[in-house]
Amino acid sequence: MTRRAFLAVATGIAGAVAAVYALARGRIGRNEAPPDAAGNTAVDGLTDNELRALTALALVLFPPTTRVPGTHVERTAEWWVRGRVARMTPPPPYRAGLALLAEEAVALQPGSAFRELSAADRERVVAKLMAAHPETAFHTTAADLIEGLYASLPGWRLVGYDAGPGMPNLPLAYTTSPDTP
């Protein structure tokens, strides 16, 4: 099979899987409640604001690189947290972790949400929370996000692969040196 043909097949399969997954999610309890007073909608138990805060946190925990742009990190983080909330009982304590994040953001810059801080201030907030003892829900949230990012495409691309376990790969990628450009 040629590389082009393989990519076409793999893309088709990945697309089919994604489509089936999207359809299945529509039938397996996607929690879409009406918006609250602030206009937030809750999807799978997380509001839009919470999802945005989590993806902003993800970008601090896994800064973009030349092989892993910020959009990949954000998309992976959102997919990971949505998937975990929908399937885990209880889900990771994202909400409690985000509350601590929000508290520190406001303490640093009154009235500001975490994602509204500068990049340097976001790092300061995360560093302070990570250094705290004993461990809090923030540590659990951060550890969960780190696991998701490094177990998925961002982590595998960081170490030089184009795909990782759980993703279709080029047929003979495994026969080549990992350091092949």
């Binding site: 601090v60 998937g83 399937r87 951060a142 177990a151 376990p165 279709p168 495994y174």
Partner: protein, 517 residues
Amino acid sequence: MTDVCVIGAGVAGALVACELAEAGRSVVLLDTGARLDEAAAERYERVRLGLDPWEWEDPGRDAFEASSELAAGVNSSRMKCVGGTTLHWNAYAPRLQPADFEVRSRFGIARDWPVSYDAIEPYYVRAERELGVAGADAPGAPPRSAPYPLPPHPYSHADSAFFFPAFDAAGLSLATNPMAVNSEAYDGRSTCLGFATCWPMCPSRAKYTAMVHIRRAEATGNVEVRAQCHVRRLRLASDRRVGRAECVDAAGRAGSIEAKAFVLAAGGVENARLLLLSAADGRHRDGLGNASGLVGRTLMSHTLAGVRATLRERVGGHRLGYGTTLSWDLYDHATYPHAGNVLLFPSDLQGPTPAQIARDAGSWGRLLQERVRDGYGYNVKLVAEGDMLPHADNRVALSTTQRDRLGDPVPVVTLRTSAFEEATIARGHEVGRRVLSHLRPRALWTDQGVFLAHFLGTTAMGTDPGAAVCDGLGRCHELDNLYIAGSSLFPTSGAAHPTLLIAALAIRTGEHLARSV
């Protein structure tokens, strides 16, 4: 009346049922577990989300007692469901060597099989075709009368760049690893797409599972599969005939199934357990078909001697879910009767993944990225799989203290190693160190254990009814219409994964039953 009732829908039961059904026989195929879609998108999504894709264990149904440390992990791999443990197996499909079938005659220990390698060989060929085994012949490999149905998987970078030179320097050779994973499209299933999640599941269906034969059997219209139908007892119609299987369905309703013949294919632990639970008067007072006293006895597995190394260059692992080579060189019975054979498997699926490094690093951001980049990808392992002898005290018995959800005694499993197995493990460690030292590793260390997915020998075949439970076709010596399929039939373990031989024997038994029932 149904022609054959098959108890257990793993690879053995599926192949027997399929053989019978395609010959026009009516079959009821029972399994205590549920029916699962092995490649469901949701299941795959769970794997990607770091969640377990399978409902591994039902404590009420799967309870057991371990009377030895090695037996503690009985439920760590076996899956009770339609399709059985093949739903998550790693698909390694080597053959045993001819001498494994004549251990007593040749070396004065253990026992002989009632059939020779030459008699089984045509069924090995069929089993490789049925499962879709990719491989190539090699010096030292078991002799074969036909080529593999699929070409071998190309060697990995780790094999080409590291293991081949290391084995060569140690005076040993490598060959392709026979895998029941498609190396090209085959049997209506995809070629391997490199998902590298073979364990626990293959999203592309390139890896063989027994569901292939379950579906094929059902397509004949002659097979009824009943999931969550747990058989509690086999009841006799006469002294030499089983009349019915008493079972309980998912709703707890008791029932029974009559058939002209029965095939017990529930695995090495449960085959023995059901026979013991089904004890009856007279010759069957110690268990059905147990006048020899051997039902449950001579439990075997395979030893594992691992040597791990951290190398100085990255090996490119985790891009395929299986190793692409093995070495037949030490599967030669040269150390019998004092130590066993070792079948060597190089592996680049070792060492922490990026996520595992990240989990343990205690850092985040750029610092963590640096640690992961620096720490990932240098680890390899050489696994030496070895034989175990059929010791009578390694066994499956019935507990006198614990019962399952239905009130039946759970199995008590005893598995210990002897001097033979310890010497085999030592042999594996010695050769592993010798090979990997040629790679000038930064670190080298060993581990050991047993294959907790392999339960062999608890209803062994043999020509002498006083020294075996079944004959060469898997028919119980004392029962005209009860057959056994699976690794519980093995009189010796060999040093190779058992699934391909399970399949070969099941096809042979099914073929015989189709003619005779």
